[in-house]
């Protein structure tokens, strides 16, 4: 289902849409407040953007340095060309160690690779330990937001889900009660776990270590209790030096939720005695994106989701309408790189208002890239025939003064004399919820008349 259709369904429940919009707008306001508290916020964004641009321009070198250092630290490094490779690598580690019990903290990369489904097809159950992710996992849904995976759900929904899966009281909505139930449930999973999968927020080339940011501490719980830790990262997660980390940590949580910093910024450098530590470095289309000059800097993204929270379209259509692991404006510029045909709708799910570009902590020109993707997609033939024909006709009318004048007059005449043509809700989507403008004659005619009278 394309974004527009999914958004139409989402908007059928007006009260819920309003609630979704207001909830996320509140997060945007928290972000504003947090950003205001940092003197030179704009300079910090500039610094982050420059570090990322530099890194992308030297990515091969930094990746090699990172691999070297990580290996020296005793970490096993794997390279995955695509999602399938990634899943197979993780699976082979699981199988060769004869593992049954697996916990995972939040990793959008594993979502992107559809790892849980892959493992399920092999009969392996992966327990998501991020509270929001566990909720959507119970419901057999996907995260609707990369930072707040269950933001589309109300506490009543969570209560019902926990009642079904955790045996909490029916009708319970108290957040503390529900969270406690999840906590006890997850505690058991952590203690029993043999293998922990985490994402990576930042991988530091200089040290060969990596940093995982969470608010729930679930990455630590998983990694510290299990005897195997697999960290999955996209190739763009590299930063050159430890001294750069502070720039990103200051920006990340403020942009994401308005917190000064995530509750946990967990640094991993080497395995504990008798622990295995693996890093899977995944390309999955990123090097192709790196080769597209107009779109390469989308790889600067640090997954804060500030662009989601500020996007007036995201807030009123929900994450699932973007049919991708990463939704919102950033998802809409990343997804066409992976599959143009399936994601041709996404760059059009925007008014190009530009708010995303302004909140982006690493200064990705999101709305310009949305515009540029539209051009690429139409050029590559992913527009419908009716759209192409319509645009051709429109260009003819709008570039030819004679036809333009005639059609304008005709159109206004039609609106005046047979208004039902425009007032068909089926033929004219505008008219479903909006009146047509009143035709009052054209400026050009007035101007010609005035000039004639002078």
């Amino acid at each position: 289902m394309d974004h527009s259709k999914a958004a139409e369904i989402f908007n059928k429940d007006k009260a819920r849409t309003k609630w979704h919009d207001e909830t996320l707008w509140m997060v945007r306001e928290k972000r504003d407040k947090a950003a205001h508290s940092v003197p030179d916020w704009e300079k910090l964004r500039e610094a982050a953007s420059n570090i990322k641009s530099h890194t992308l321009s030297n990515l091969d070198e930094y990746l090699k340095t990172f691999e070297d250092k990580a290996k020296k630290n005793g970490i096993t490094v794997h390279w995955a060309a695509d999602a399938h490779d990634h899943n197979e690598i993780v699976y082979s580690i699981i199988r060769s160690n004869n593992i049954q019990k697996i916990v995972k903290s939040k990793s959008m990369l594993t979502e992107e690779c559809h790892m849980n489904e892959f493992m399920a097809s092999k009969g392996i159950d992966v327990i998501d330990t991020d509270l929001g992710e566990r909720i959507v996992q119970f419901r057999k849904e996907h995260p609707s937001h990369i930072v707040m995976p269950a933001i589309h759900l109300k506490r009543e929904d969570v209560g019902e889900t926990f009642h079904q899966h955790l045996g909490t009281e029916k009708g319970a909505t108290d957040p503390q009660y529900l969270t406690e139930a999840a906590r006890q449930h997850l505690r058991d999973k952590f203690i029993a776990s043999e293998l922990a999968i985490t994402g990576v927020n930042f991988a530091i080339a200089e040290t060969g270590g990596f940093v995982v940011c969470t608010n729930e501490g679930n990455a630590d719980m998983g990694a510290h209790l299990a005897s195997i830790h697999i960290a999955c990262m996209g190739i763009e997660k590299i930063i050159p030096k430890m001294e750069h980390l502070g720039v990103f940590l200051r920006l990340l949580a403020r942009s994401a939720t308005g917190q000064p910093i995530t509750t946990y910024s967990s640094h991993f450098h080497k395995p504990r005695p008798n622990q295995q530590m693996h890093i899977v470095i995944v390309d999955n289309g990123r090097s192709v994106q790196l080769g597209r000059p107009d779109f390469r800097n989308s790889l600067k993204c640090i997954r804060c989701a500030a662009c989601f929270n500020t996007c007036p379209v995201y807030r009123r259509s929900g994450g699932h309408s973007y049919h991708n692991a990463v939704a919102g404006p950033i998802g809409s510029i990343l997804a066409p790189n992976l599959n143009m045909r399936e994601n041709a709708d996404l760059p059009f799910a925007s008014t190009l208002c530009g708010s995303c570009t302004n909140v982006c902590p690493v200064k990705i020109d999101l709305h310009d890239q949305l515009w540029k993707w539209r051009q690429v997609l139409m050029k590559e033939g992913y527009g419908s025939l009716s759209k192409k024909t319509g645009m051709k006709m429109m260009t003819t009318v709008l570039s030819n003064p004679g036809i333009y004048n005639f059609m304008g007059k005709l159109g206004r005449g039609v609106l005046r004399t047979i208004p039902w043509i425009a007032k068909s809700k089926m033929l004219n989507p505008w008219y479903k919820h909006r009146e047509m403008p009143v035709a009052r004659g054209s400026f050009k005619e007035w101007y010609v008349g005035r000039r004639g009278n002078r």
Binding site: S4, T351, T395, W430
Partner: protein, 244 residues
């Protein structure tokens, strides 16, 4: 000062009074204004739909109409931004000239004519809808996302209008959801966004919603009229040119 008046196609066709007000206002402020008669459209509707490459004929027609003036002024931030960023071929000196001397009306008044007072009078409570392309594209006002000093060229001008009371909105610069073809291709979200903007203004008790882009106002007007609201839309040029 020879000024070419660029009137967006939909303003020409549906809102002639906006063109008239812009023309009269510029003339009263001492500009010699000409309306190149064969102008049509800037090509933005096609470009935003992904067909910039096939709107060459629009670009050519625009160039033919608007070359040779000191300034080009237009009562729409969106159309001006499109010309500034996308009029092709950019390597053509005539095109480069057009890109650099085209101005949105309010920025022309504040930055070029350096208007410090107006004789306009409009005794109503007014809400100012900030249109995104004028704001985030042309920087007509500061943006709520950026941690930079605040300013507003349109609000500064409205402050010179006798009797006008400007409302403070809850969401100062949220998009109205018009978005060109977005308003029909993403009808549901477009209307939801428009409804929320309209409600913000109505909740502040405004009689009029004004702004620099008639396209946004047309969208908001469509929603207001469907609901039989008493709140009206009025382009900022009409207020700045008002003499009642």
């Amino acid at each position: 000062m020879k000024v070419a008046l660029f009137i967006p196609c939909y303003v020409d066709q549906f809102y002639p009074q906006v063109g008239i007000s812009t023309l009269e206002l510029l003339e009263r402020l001492g500009c010699e204004v000409e309306f190149p008669i064969k102008q049509t459209c800037c090509g933005q509707p096609m470009a935003n739909a992904g067909f910039a490459a096939s709107s060459k004929a629009c670009d050519l027609n625009f160039k033919e109409n608007f070359s040779g003036f000191d300034y080009i002024v237009c009562p729409s931030g969106s159309c001006v931004l499109h010309i500034k960023e996308h009029l092709q071929p950019a390597s053509d000196p005539a095109v480069a000239k057009i890109r650099s001397n085209i101005y949105e009306l309010t920025e022309f008044l504040t930055d070029v004519l350096k208007v410090e007072n107006l004789t306009a009078s409009f005794s109503h409570k007014v809400g100012l809808h900030i249109s995104c392309h004028g704001q985030r594209g042309l920087h007509l006002s500061s943006m709520s996302e950026l941690m930079l000093p605040s300013f507003s060229k349109p609000a500064k001008l409205l402050g010179m209008v006798k009797g006008l009371e400007l409302a403070t909105l809850t969401r100062k610069d949220e998009c109205c959801g018009f978005g060109g073809t977005f308003c029909v291709t993403e009808e549901a979200v477009s209307v939801a966004m428009g409804q929320d903007r309209v409600d913000d203004h109505i909740n502040k008790g405004v009689e009029y919603i004004t702004g620099g882009d008639m396209s946004c106002l047309m969208h908001l007007e469509g929603i207001l009229r469907r609901q039989k609201s008493n709140v009206k839309v009025v382009h900022i040029a009409e207020i700045l040119n008002s003499r009642n």
